[in-house]
């Protein structure tokens, strides 16, 4: 078939941008339809996501790589074995607006070693442990603070005192503030470990994954 070059074509035509029909609505930056006159912002919120995973090489790298790659804001990550051999629990504290939390859960669920993912509701059983090393000049005052926070002195010498505090995030932050007066030399925090409260299951796991 021969193409007809004589047919005059003038290039692209049609109403210009300013002359076209326009929609009335709009979306926000998260792709959510919004009232054009009101700007709703999704504030980040802090939440705990618990993942029950098959314990295989690379699972932790997979989870941390995913959070890094997708720019999910992660506050802490803990991992440890469970009562079921070959399975671990990863507890993540994340701070994201709702769409980000939703994405984080779904993307986690796509990793092959991940058996179950759940966001723990507002009132989980959650604890963190911190080890603090402070200057040893005022042992009595340090001891008083440790008592107050129901902690434990792990090591004491002429130069430094090392203590352990366990609690929820708020309590640990408070304790660290309180020790500040003595001069904190070093801190090691574990990040939060958490389970669902009461009889609720943290992970729904069928028998093939226990």
């Amino acid at each position: 078939m021969s193409r007809n070059l004589d047919r005059r074509r003038d290039g692209l035509a049609g109403p210009e941008p300013g002359e076209r029909d326009r929609p009335v609505g709009r979306r926000n930056a998260d792709g959510i339809r919004v009232d054009p006159d009101v700007e709703v912002e999704h504030d980040p919120r802090r939440t705990i996501i618990s993942a029950y995973v098959r314990d295989e090489p690379g699972v932790l790298a997979g989870v941390s790589g995913l959070f890094h790659r997708r720019q999910f804001n992660i506050e802490s990550l803990t991992v440890g074995p469970t009562q079921n051999e070959g399975y671990s629990r990863i507890t993540l504290v994340v701070e994201e607006p709702d769409p980000g939390i939703d994405q984080a859960k779904k993307q986690l669920g796509k990793l092959l070693p991940v058996v179950h993912v759940r966001e723990l509701d507002a009132d989980p059983v959650a604890r963190e442990l911190v080890i603090l090393k402070v200057n040893g000049e005022a042992p009595d005052e340090v001891h008083a603070i440790t008592e107050m926070y129901d902690g434990e002195t792990l090591d004491a010498g002429p130069e430094t005192i090392t203590v352990r505090i366990t609690g929820d995030e708020g309590k640990i932050d408070d304790a660290i503030d309180a020790y500040g007066q003595f001069g904190i030399r070093e801190i090691a925090r574990t990040g939060q470990a958490a389970l669902a409260r009461g009889a609720a299951e943290t992970a729904r796991v069928d028998e093939s994954h226990t």
């Binding site: 074509r9 076209r20 929609p23 792709g31 994954h209």
Partner: protein, 643 residues
């Protein structure tokens, strides 16, 4: 074109054939004998820094006894097809999966697997570069629907695959990659040609596996195959340490199976389907947005039945080009950055968007603030993580595209009352035709060449492309009527995809299907060495280089957004691609004037073997319509002044 692809003879062991065949670009395997004797340090052909050479020598010294045990000089088995080694199990797993073609490049760490292929019926195509192997496997997967398989040695072989894997990952194309790895004992020692392939490829694969046991390696390959093919398709990789492939194994790994934690739902929740169907039936301005998932799910017939039954206009994403006949009355073709004016008007003005198998890529949506802002969105996808990732779904339906479309069809009590809307869409089609000016006294327009090739070939012709302006013209000015005939690099935008993809597509296509690659001069220069493969294997493809002596898409952006400063975007000189083709042993042609177009294309297309048409096109031509990055689809520009 009528030539049948000539599959590689199963008896052609590339390592053996290489020294006598200078075209194959695999002569580096000639020193693989020494690699085999005492890996990993003895590959003498490589230049190394003094430091790494010492390190490797040290490693070999301290670990030599272990290496000797696992890497015998003699092949570990006689290659009879019995399962005696891990490598045999790998080959058996591929055969169980129904694999017919493999694309790869030999090398030390993968040699046991190649050796096990010696007696296999599967045909191996030795590519010039591992990137080519990955793209060929990708296109093979797109055209056939089943995973394409690529193979590479450790280190540079594996890293050369990465671009192709990332490409497949972005487009959810089914690919299985097998990479050699240094023996397990050497892993972590910076051994010769060691790369952390699992670490490097993790972010660009759907899943990857480090095979650590000869007894399980066949199952690992089967799992990788099942995962690449199942659910949301994608690339998977199995890293194969040499001691594992050389190790003893005896079990047939059986059929490919997905792991228990991979369990994509087939159908969506009935309540959600009912609610979505009600919204769709009540819509005044409904649009179906078909994504690549429709093609992947083989749901194009279902889509067509649904759209015609309910009179709903259909827009596609770029990977879904061909999912809905573009000459259909309801077809609005592609939306997005270089989509049609009518598709962009429709997605902007719709009040109900049924989006199937799409991830709402930013080149489709433009700025999300102005994407279908009046629409209730029904989003069908097999991957729950795509729901509300970029654009919020009012009605998420997680499941297989075809199965959920069937559910929706059953749940639709009535069709939307959309006659006026269809009329509006028709009017937009009239108002914004894809036209181009082609004055006879100016250089040949690329659009004209695309239309001419379309006219000269059958409807089921497969088109592959590089990335750039030529890709957009090939998309816009060819009328696609069948799924799996548009084979391109969408999400990653990988220059160089076209030629190796054409080879993979050719081997997966029906014998009587033509395969045409539209390439850019820049893209062609990235992978044209694969022509040597097309010639050697007698792969009948026609490459049409839309030669503008520029990396034109970049030049177009410089014109529009960088004050016409053409920094590093124009080639003051490009090779004569026709002569270059002849040097490779292909046929070369040249087009400079309109009068030559038909005759040259005729000759090139009818040549039984690879041919290259160097089409010198108007270097000033740009791609429009255009929605600038992050822009408003409804405000697409018809020319640069409107940007």
């Amino acid at each position: 074109m009528s030539g049948e692809p000539k599959p590689a003879s199963p008896g052609t062991d590339p390592a053996e054939a290489a020294p006598s065949d200078a075209d194959t670009a695999t002569t580096d395997t000639t020193d693989s004998d020494t690699t085999e004797v005492a890996p990993p340090d003895a590959d003498t052909g490589e230049t190394e820094t003094a430091e790494s050479a010492t390190a490797a020598a040290h490693t070999a010294e301290t670990a030599a006894p272990a290496a000797d045990e696992t890497d015998a000089t003699e092949p570990a088995d006689d290659g009879t097809g019995e399962i005696e080694t891990g490598a045999d199990a790998v080959v058996c797993a591929l055969e169980n999966a129904g694999v017919e073609h493999l694309f790869g490049v030999q090398g030390g760490a993968i040699m046991p697997v190649y050796d096990a292929l010696y007696h296999s019926e599967m045909a191996h195509v030795t590519m010039a570069h591992e990137q080519g192997a990955a793209h060929a496997a990708d296109a093979y997967g797109v055209v056939s629907g089943a995973p394409g398989v690529c193979m590479a040695t450790s280190g540079p072989g594996a890293t050369n695959l990465v671009t192709g894997l990332a490409d497949a990952n972005m487009d959810s194309d089914p690919v299985v990659a097998l990479t050699g790895q240094v023996p397990t004992d050497f892993v972590g020692s910076d051994a010769f040609q060691e790369t952390d392939t699992i670490g490097v490829t993790g972010p660009v694969t759907k899943a990857n596996f480090f095979a650590d046991d000869a007894d399980d390696v066949g199952t690992d390959v089967g799992t990788a195959f099942a995962l690449a093919a199942g659910g949301r398709q994608g690339p998977t990789l199995v890293d194969l340490p040499k001691d594992v492939t050389n190790g003893d194994a005896s079990e047939d790994p059986g059929e490919p199976r997905t792991p228990s934690t991979h369990d994509p739902p087939e159908t969506a929740a009935p309540d959600a389907v009912a609610a979505a169907a009600a919204v769709l039936a009540a819509a005044d301005r409904p649009v179906i947005l078909a994504g690549g998932g429709v093609v992947k799910a083989d749901a194009t017939a279902t889509l067509r039945a649904f759209a015609t039954e309910h009179g709903i206009p259909v827009v596609t994403t770029m990977p879904a080009v061909g999912a809905f006949r573009e000459d259909h009355d309801l077809a609005l073709e592609m939306a997005g950055m270089h989509g049609t004016g009518y598709a962009n008007m429709a997605v902007t003005m719709t009040d109900c968007l049924l989006a199937v198998g799409t991830r709402f890529d930013d080149r489709l949506t433009g700025g999300v603030e102005t994407f279908a802002p009046d629409a209730a969105i029904v989003h069908v996808d097999i991957d729950p993580a795509e729901i509300s990732k970029n654009v919020e779904a009012d009605h998420p339906l997680v499941g297989d595209a075809g199965a959920v479309l069937d559910q929706l069809a059953a749940a639709m009590a009535t069709s939307p009352d959309a006659a006026a809307w269809r009329e509006q869409c028709r009017q937009w089609k009239q108002e914004y035709p894809l036209e181009y000016a082609a004055p006879a006294d100016e250089p040949v327009k690329p659009q004209y060449v695309v239309e001419a090739v379309d006219d000269a070939t059958a409807d089921d012709t497969i088109v592959t492309t590089g990335v750039g302006q030529h890709q957009m013209w090939a998309c816009q000015y060819w009328t696609y009527t069948e799924p799996r005939t548009w084979v391109s690099s969408h999400g990653l935008g990988t220059m160089g995809y076209g030629v190796p993809a054409a080879i993979g597509a050719r081997l997966a296509a029906e014998d009587d299907q033509d395969v045409v690659c539209f390439d850019g001069d820049g893209s062609f220069l990235m992978t044209c060495q694969e022509l040597s493969v097309a010639v050697r294997e007698n792969v009948d493809v026609t490459v049409v280089v839309l030669n503008n002596a520029a990396i034109g898409m970049v030049r177009q952006w410089q014109d529009a957004f960088f004050g016409e400063r053409h920094m590093a975007s124009e080639y003051p000189w490009v090779p004569d691609f026709d002569t270059l083709a002849e040097a490779f042993g292909a046929r070369g042609f040249r087009i400079e004037r309109y009068e030559e177009v038909e005759a040259v294309l005729d000759e090139a297309l009818s040549y039984d073997g690879p041919s290259v048409v160097d089409a010198h096109i108007d270097p000033d031509e740009n791609v429009y319509p255009m929605v600038p990055s992050g822009g408003d689809n409804g405000l697409f520009a018809l020319a640069e002044e409107q940007l």
